[in-house]
């Protein structure tokens, strides 16, 4: 108990000492420290800066350590500490700035004084001083105006578990009013207290850590438990155990919600990517192997739009360079490029799609396997054209500011682009539903898909409807490309990485059914992310398999890859149960 009291009074004493020093700005203190003769006094002065949030400190300390501080003589003969900055002129002379005031030092004529380095006496520094400076610097951010910087500083100090940093943390805690930083302070103090010799303090610290249950404190608690066990202190070990369990529970919650969010966002990506295919393959029955390349067309269209809004670009266009002028916009004007890129990418992909339909696919409506082969040929050609037009390497598509960043809620990270993809998926599905069910074109599309012959007999121009439907499907792929450009790399083989997934989504969903596509996209995305997250936990259980146990266990370490393979196995098994997907379009046609 006595120790506890001592502990809480210590900062008070410290505070009193600091307050008794003459009231000086940080600059003045540094200036007098520079002029001071004795190293011990210098250190005392420097240490007094601890806990001050003056932003000038870091810069001056850096200058000091880089030998930029000198002692000059002012007009009145007094010694002045100065910093030499700027570009040296012909005589190697630089501007001199007084450290105490931050203003340029003036010479007799009232002009800014200039000195060469060799003219002045440099301010020395040694290991002791540098250590003092580092100690101060560690604490500078603690008093920063910016809560994020404070948070970071507190965490850095806390995880280093340096007992000497305890007083400033406690001092800060007494004035801190930002909730997040307060929690971090409590955590940091508790972490430092874990190293305290007193059992009671440690017990108390473990209690605090159990309540806070932060992910970062886990290792320190585990070390504390190990120490307690070696020292044979059962009570402490039990408290540490409890704290670890609390952290683990918290981690499990974070993982669960994180997995759900990632599953939802992967599902949205799959949905956006597969929706175009659900129309071309699901409704029209065309196996478009070039669907992935339609996505790439959209992504490249986004890239070109971005360059047009930015500083322009020169494309290696089939060996001749093709310059694209830029509008050199900045700020919001530049960020608006993405909004414009959406319709551009839709139209670009739709146009390519219509060209493809008119040129090749319309001859193959009754030969689905052949359409697969011909469109694969198209996909090869398009990939090579991308390479020749935009180069074989990935191109750089920057995210607009409103898509880069994230929210962290209770340790769960929500990336803005991921949230945006989810919202966009909802919008696009709604849009497609509207287009198919509430527009004249949608009516025609549905009639042709239900019964081509009958629709033709009723005077529907099926050729035109086919063309527009294929354009719509390709355009949706282009939109998907615009979004993928915000998430992954844009390169000639972009489409290849999504083609298998999108076919799976459509097949599982049931061909010719948008609702099935939605469900299967989220189902596949969710299962994939769950496996990816939890497979490593399950891996030990796989060892029980006869013969191939250790082999499976080994594989499960690569949870991303093994998860994908398992998803595929699940899909094949699922198709055993429902060969035509989730929703079956009933038809009296035997072959259909």
């Amino acid at each position: 108990m006595i120790l506890r009291i001592l502990h809480s009074t210590l900062p008070l004493i410290f505070f009193a000492l600091a307050a008794s020093a003459p009231a000086q700005t940080a600059r003045e203190t540094i200036a007098s420290a520079a002029l001071e003769g004795s190293v011990a006094k210098k250190r005392q002065l420097l240490d007094s800066l601890a806990g001050k949030g003056d932003p000038a400190i870091a810069g001056l300390f850096d200058a000091w350590r880089q030998d930029q501080l000198f002692i000059a003589t002012a007009e009145d003969g007094a010694a002045v500490a100065v910093q030499l900055t700027g570009e040296p002129d012909a005589d190697e002379k630089l501007n001199a700035i007084s450290i105490a005031t931050g203003e340029p030092l003036l010479d007799a004529s009232g002009q800014p004084a200039r000195f060469a380095r060799s003219e002045l006496k440099p301010v020395e520094h040694n290991a002791l001083l540098r250590r003092s400076m580092k100690g101060v610097l560690d604490l500078v951010d603690l008093s920063s105006e910016d809560p994020d910087r404070r948070l970071k500083a507190v965490q850095t100090i806390g995880y280093s578990q340096d007992a000497s940093k305890l007083p400033p943390l406690e001092k800060r805690l007494s004035v801190e009013n930002n909730g997040r930083v307060r929690n971090a302070l409590l955590e940091g103090i508790a972490l430092i207290q874990l190293k305290d010799p007193s059992d009671e303090t440690r017990l108390h610290a473990l209690d605090t850590l159990r309540e806070l249950a932060t992910l970062g404190s886990f290792d320190s608690i585990r070390n504390a438990r190990a120490e307690a066990e070696t020292a044979g202190k059962a009570e402490l070990a039990a408290a540490a155990e409890k704290a670890m369990r609390a952290v683990n529970t918290h981690r499990a919650t974070v993982n669960l919600f994180g997995t759900m969010f990632r599953g939802l966002s992967l599902g949205s990506i799959l949905l956006v990517v597969a929706l175009g295919l659900a129309i071309t393959f699901g409704l029209m029955g065309v196996i478009n192997m070039a669907h992935g390349e339609m996505i790439a067309v959209g992504a490249y269209a986004t890239y070109v739009t971005q360059c047009f809004f930015g500083s322009g670009v020169t494309l290696p266009f089939f060996g001749r360079s093709l310059p694209i002028p830029g509008m050199n916009l900045e700020g919001w004007g530049y960020n608006a490029y993405f909004v414009c890129a959406l319709p551009v990418s839709f139209l670009a992909a739709a146009l390519v799609g219509i060209g493809l339909e008119r040129g090749i696919i319309r001859f193959l409506y009754r030969r689905p396997l052949e359409s697969l082969l011909a469109t694969w040929g198209v996909s090869l050609v398009l990939q090579q054209i991308f390479r020749l037009m935009f180069g074989a390497n990935n191109v750089q598509v920057s995210s607009p500011s409103y898509l880069s960043g994230n929210w962290t809620i209770n340790d769960i990270i929500f990336g803005w682009n991921r949230v945006f993809v989810i919202l966009f998926a909802i919008m696009i599905v709604f849009g497609v539903w509207l287009a198919l069910n509430r527009t004249p074109l949608g009516l025609l599309i549905r009639s042709v898909m239900q019964n081509r012959t009958m629709a033709a007999c009723m005077g529907v121009r099926i050729e035109r409807v086919n063309m527009l439907t294929f354009g719509l499907g390709s355009g949706l792929a282009g939109l998907a490309g615009a979004f993928l450009s915000q998430i992954g790399n844009v390169g000639p083989s972009l489409g290849q990485s999504y083609i298998v997934d999108s076919f799976m989504v459509v097949v599982v969903g049931g061909v010719g059914n948008i609702a099935g596509t939605v469900i299967s996209a989220f189902g596949i995305g969710g299962v994939d992310q769950i496996l990816q997250q939890y497979l490593p936990d399950w891996a030990p259980g796989l060892a029980g398999f006869p013969m191939i146990g250790s082999f499976l266990q080994n594989l499960a370490q690569d949870s991303a890859v093994f998860g994908k393979i398992l998803v595929l196995v699940f899909i094949i098994l699922f198709l055993q149960w429902r060969p035509a997907g989730i929703f079956v379009t009933r038809s009296r046609n035997l072959e259909g």
Partner: protein, 399 residues
């Protein structure tokens, strides 16, 4: 018997068969006797022999695609997987034969040393035996094809769904083989082979031997497939292609027929892969992609689907073209391959094998009757298509 009649149309008439046998005999004589002899004389370079060995193993892959796609109507995009599985199984034996001559001078393969292994993982051990490796070349792809095919055909997955599922299977396998944890060399795969059955692989004589073995295997496979076609089995097989439902209603278990063909095709592809690996000297997961399967489909389509001779010619022809074009026009090659594919699908469904007949038809030797392509569609569909054409023309006249 409505099944027999349309099928009989596709069976080669005796004169056609005689021509084909003549062509095959001529090719076999050139490939198996003339080229090796010229190579021994030094007229034909070792490089050429090696290249042709590669073409011939590709021809095996093409035959497996043709057996499925041409004769049974199943477009499998997983043949490259079976091909490289065979390559891997044989490659494991070849890796063991390196002994301690690798970079690290250790008795286990280099990549295992690199991954921190000190002794051989247990599943590698039996591959010291050549016989075991060859048994695996047949068993592993055969078993995989059996399990996958059983599941797929049982639930009546057909047409494009089958293609998409085999594509996914290939994709899943390739991402698995790219991982180091599988202990099969990761993305570098197997390479630097030294010996096969005690013979040095770098010797021209060994390569010539492998080349002849490949040729003989190809010839035997061709004869086997030709024989299979002439049996009742072959007839049902083609009936499944042309009208699966009718076959089902006639009381045949179509799924069993398809399963058998799928397994046989997987084994043929695998043997091709096993012969490919020692001649090319490397096998890695990039040989396992869907694109490679589709490339093999191109060979078959270009050569002539469902003709057995066509796929062999297609595999050799397209690869020969590729060897030349990738050197002469590296940038345009893919455009050319893709374009070739589009053109063949759109304008030449019978492939190059059908060219003489088309020429003949063009010059009016056999009348102007349009040749029904071997890739015949079910008649119901043709009827529907005709109805649509009529409907469309009605509409045009109205408009």
């Amino acid at each position: 018997m409505s099944i027999v009649n349309p099928a009989a149309r596709i069976l080669p008439s005796s004169s056609r068969l005689r021509i084909e046998i003549g062509v095959i005999a001529a090719i076999a004589a050139v490939v198996l006797i003339v080229l090796p002899v010229l190579n021994m004389q030094g007229v034909v370079s070792n490089f050429t022999i090696n290249l042709w060995g590669k073409y011939l193993s590709f021809a095996l892959l093409a035959i497996s695609v043709d057996l499925l796609w041409g004769a049974t109507g199943l477009l499998s995009l997983g043949q490259a997987l079976f091909f490289s599985l065979g390559g891997y199984m044989h490659g494991m034996y070849l890796m063991r034969m390196i002994g301690d001559l690798g970079q690290y001078k250790k008795p286990i393969p280099d990549f295992l040393v690199f991954l921190g292994w000190t002794e051989l993982p247990s599943f590698w051990k039996p591959f010291d035996s050549f016989a075991f490796a060859i048994a695996m070349v047949i068993l592993v792809p055969g078993l995989l094809a059996f399990v996958f095919g059983y599941l797929a055909f049982r639930s009546r997955i057909k047409g494009v769904y089958f293609s998409i599922l085999t594509q996914a299977l290939t994709y899943a396998a390739s991402i698995m083989f790219f991982r180091n944890n599988l202990l099969l060399g990761g993305n570098n795969g197997f390479t630097d082979f030294k010996f096969i059955l005690g013979y040095n692989l770098l010797e021209p004589a060994t390569q010539r031997g492998l080349y002849i073995v490949t040729g003989v295997v190809l010839l035997l496979t061709y004869i086997f497939c030709r024989w299979l076609r002439s049996t009742k089995f072959g007839l049902v097989q083609r009936a499944i292609r042309d009208g699966e439902n009718r076959v089902l209603f006639s009381g045949y278990a179509a799924a069993n027929y398809k399963l058998f063909v799928f397994v046989v095709a997987a084994i043929i592809a695998s043997v091709g892969g096993a012969l490919y690996t020692p001649q090319v000297g490397i096998i890695n997961p990039s040989a396992m992609t869907t694109d490679k399967s589709l490339e093999a489909v191109v060979w078959v389509a270009v050569g002539g689907r469902g003709t057995l001779l066509g796929p062999i010619l297609g595999a050799i022809g397209v690869n020969w073209l590729k060897s030349w074009a990738t050197r002469a026009y590296p940038d345009q090659w893919l455009i050319f391959l893709g374009g070739l594919f589009i053109i063949v699908v759109l304008f030449l469904p019978g492939g190059i094998v059908s060219l003489p007949k088309r020429m003949a038809a063009l010059f009016g030797f056999h009348g102007t009757k349009r040749e029904k392509t071997t890739a015949a569609e079910p008649e119901t569909e043709t009827a529907t298509a005709t109805a649509i054409e009529t409907a469309a023309s009605i509409e045009t006249t109205k408009g």
